[in-house]
Amino acid sequence: MREDNIFDEAAKDMTLEHKFFVNFGFSFAKQIRYELSVHPHINTQKDLAIAMKKTESEISRMLTGLHNLTLDSISKLCFVFGKELILTDLMAQEKYNSTLATGNEGNMIFINITINQFIILPMRNNNDEYQETVTLQDLFDSMPILPSKELMLS
């Protein structure tokens, strides 16, 4: 079946900035949904709206993944759920003594998992400067050296 080419046409103009915005929005929305599912008291959008002193429609918008969250809103969410919901690369290093993404060369990306363990992952496509998201499965699958793999899995 013939498809209109609007999505493909738009994809040519998309930058990593557009993708980061949307991917981050979805990740954050997913995190909020998770927090709602495990919090002892705040389990619904209505509970969250009351706790954050916002309207339900604002909460609903946050959960769409296409919402421009402000630092103010993120801080309120952290306060309400009583935890840090965002972990920057440096914060992650301090917490886990690891670097999540350190750089790229050619069409390969270098990931430093723990000290002295470097893994090379192929990039998804040559237009991306570096791979946008790396799942744990990607990391395990890409580990060629058995001792490291066993170390990580243990």
């Binding site: 209109d4 609007i6 738009a10 994809a11 915005f21 979805f26 296409l66």
Partner: protein, 166 residues
């Protein structure tokens, strides 16, 4: 058509067209028989001139929904009989926001209509989106009444589907 001095308005019909097929969602749009391009294409062309950045975010967002999540109602704004893709920018902060009206047949099939930059919380009071909002309401009701046959995310009786366009 004139009939004994009375003006009887003839219905113009619209057919459905496939925009993009993803693993979890098939996106469709409608095209009026008297219109040169489909509603979604019109939205894309007009809005790309107004704010291409927002258009690209919305399209990428639709592609992520289509590939990974499915068209769950939580990801869309309910707008009476239809839905809308929500704004990437808070209306209260910048006083403009893009709306793309659509109809969720279910989580696997979405019909994209048209939209614009909304300047008022009430779409019926916004000169930019009023016409698209009203049409989307009507088209959504008409689409709801159709019998849509499908194979997962693909509408299989596309040629049989049409609604009153105007």
């Amino acid at each position: 058509m004139k009939f004994f001095g009375l003006s009887l308005k003839e219905n113009i019909f619209a057919t459905f067209e496939c925009v993009k097929q993803y693993d979890k969602v098939g996106y469709y749009t409608i095209k009026g028989s008297t219109m040169p391009i489909s509603e979604f294409k019109d939205f894309y062309k007009r809005m790309s001139q107004e704010d291409k950045d927002q258009v690209l975010k919305i399209i990428y967002w639709l592609s992520v929904i289509g590939n990974e999540y499915g068209a769950m109602p939580d990801y869309f704004r309910p707008e009476r009989n239809c839905h809308a893709v929500p704004p990437p920018i808070e209306i209260t902060q910048q006083s403009i926001a893009m709306r793309l009206y659509c109809y969720l047949v279910d989580e696997n099939i979405v019909v994209l209509f048209n939209g614009g930059l909304k300047t008022n919380n009430n779409p019926e009071k916004c000169p930019n989106v009023r016409q698209y909002f009203k049409k989307a309401q009507k088209w959504a009701i008409n689409t709801r009444d159709l019998i849509i046959q499908r194979d997962k995310t693909r509408i299989t009786n596309l040629d049989d589907l049409q609604i009153v366009y105007a």
